[in-house]
């Protein structure tokens, strides 16, 4: 399912990062950094809400808008009942669509928002997403203070929040096209190897996107997947070659970019809904504004993990969504 847009622009972005991310390679590009996991609140879940609210306020501040100016807010996170989104939204007060698509939430939100903006149903839309490493560990894995060994293939959930503001008002970056992915399950049951779970769905979405628009991979200056990690990235490149006979040249994975993999204890890299937006909104967005990168394909990858289903010995399905952003000279 691929859409082309003619009248959607990315106006502004924001990033709020946690302690580990701020020590990563893009530390100086983030709008605001928290140096403790509680962000001045009492619990990790509330800390995630705080970061989400901050990211919304930050993007509005940077775009010089008020909350009342925004027609719609689309947001999602990893926690059960998307609590961070719901509780944050209670204080934000913009009409909300809460979505869950695991770590592919950001791009799914962008696609839903872009479709509505493109059809003139709304004028502007705010898309945000957040994750918290301790909140996610608590819900999906084991207690944070429990030191049970982790495998080299496991990933580290990012702590942070990020927001996008899209509207019909022309800006330097245009939302050009998007592809909604399908759920793929190739029988991986290992919740410590999410890269292997998500790689086939990323490959399928990239292939769908390129074939339906009749493009070659090198049409894009940069193809970014969400959170495959070191090993998932290698699997994706190999899988694209053997399954679709496609070579990915300008390809990278945000999980491998967000942390200093040689010095930070993050195993195979970052993950979580905030991982890709933190990298894109900080570094890549800046490079696009400078004109150094002109066409980017964001492929957010989500492992639809449920501890209950994994315990029932079922494999983990995954989904990926893609959105293409281009630098334009449409500004009048």
């Amino acid at each position: 399912m691929t859409f082309k847009y003619s009248n959607v622009y990315l106006n502004e972005v924001s990033t709020i990062a946690g302690p580990y991310e701020s020590k990563g390679p893009f530390g100086r590009y983030y709008d605001k950094v928290y140096n403790d996991f509680y962000c001045g609140t009492k619990t990790w879940e509330q800390a995630e809400c705080r970061m989400l609210v901050d990211s919304v306020d930050m993007v509005l501040y940077k775009a010089n808008k008020l909350r009342n100016d925004i027609d719609l807010h689309i947001s999602g996170d990893l926690l059960n009942q998307i609590v961070s989104t719901n509780y944050a939204s209670a204080s934000i007060g913009i009409p909300l669509i809460g979505i869950y698509s695991a770590c592919s939430t950001s791009v799914l939100g962008l696609i839903i928002g872009s479709n509505m903006v493109d059809k003139d149903e709304i004028r502007n839309c705010l898309i945000s997403t957040s994750s918290h490493t301790n909140g996610a560990e608590k819900q999906f894995r084991q207690p944070v203070e429990y030191g049970g060994p982790k495998r080299k293939t496991s990933t580290f959930t990012t702590t942070g929040a990020a927001s996008f503001l899209i509207s019909t008002k022309p800006s330097q970056i245009k939302v050009e096209s998007a592809t909604i992915g399908r759920v793929i399950d190739l029988g991986i049951t290992d919740s410590m190897n999410m890269g292997a779970v998500m790689a086939p769905s990323a490959a399928s979405t990239i292939y769908d996107h390129l074939t339906s628009l009749k493009r070659e991979p090198n049409y894009y200056d940069l193809i970014l997947t969400g959170d495959l990690g070191i090993y998932g990235k290698r699997i994706l490149v190999d899988y694209m070659k053997s399954e679709y006979n496609m070579e990915l040249d300008n390809y990278d994975d945000t999980a491998c970019m967000i942390y200093d993999l040689n010095h930070q204890p993050v195993f195979a890299g970052g993950s979580g809904p905030a991982c890709m937006p933190l990298v894109f909104n900080s570094y890549v967005y800046k490079k696009m504004l400078e004109g150094k990168i002109t066409r980017v394909l964001l492929v957010a990858t989500g492992a639809l993990l449920s501890p209950a289903m994994v315990n029932q010995k079922l494999s983990i399905p995954s989904i990926s969504h893609a959105i293409s952003l281009e630098v334009t000279d449409d500004i009048l």
Partner: protein
């Protein structure tokens, strides 16, 4: 691509865990914990003039306390990550699993949080421990007559 072929592709790219190295570390650290335990038993029975059986109970209490205390101070998880089964298999691992779960849920109340989740990980240990103790006790009775 079918599932088996994909699994082969995944295995090709994913690193293997170094089992020999992990086992060796666990063997050494686990052994050191055993030495510490024996040292405590000897010193307690010498200091308090009590039989070995009672001294070993106090030794277990000491190790459980150490496991809990170091977990609360926030660095026992790093020690466990390094030593793996060397600290998980001894009683320190049991204390660590209980304490970490308790700390995790302390903000959710004494009854609904700490009480309800304390045995989240340790419950399995108790269940398996009680069942295997029953069977080994039975075996001992049948073979050795009690």
């Amino acid at each position: 691509m079918d599932k088996n072929k994909y699994k082969a592709l995944v295995d090709k790219h994913c690193p293997k865990e170094n089992r020999l190295y992990n086992g060796l570390i666990a063997f050494i650290v686990g052994g050191l914990v055993g030495v510490l335990g024996q040292f405590l038993v000897d010193i307690y029975s010498y200091l308090f003039s009590i039989p070995t059986k009672e001294a070993s109970t106090i030794m277990i209490i000491t190790l459980v306390f150490l496991g809990c205390f170091l977990t609360c101070l926030g660095f026992f998880d790093k020690m466990v990550s390094f030593a793996r089964c060397g600290l998980i298999i001894p009683i320190t691992g049991f204390a660590h699993s209980m304490m970490s779960a308790t700390l995790e849920y302390k903000k959710e109340g004494i009854v609904t949080g700490m009480g309800a989740n304390m045995f989240k990980l340790a419950g399995t240990v108790i269940m398996c421990g009680v069942v295997s103790a029953y069977f080994f006790g039975l075996l001992r009775y049948l073979i050795m007559g009690g």
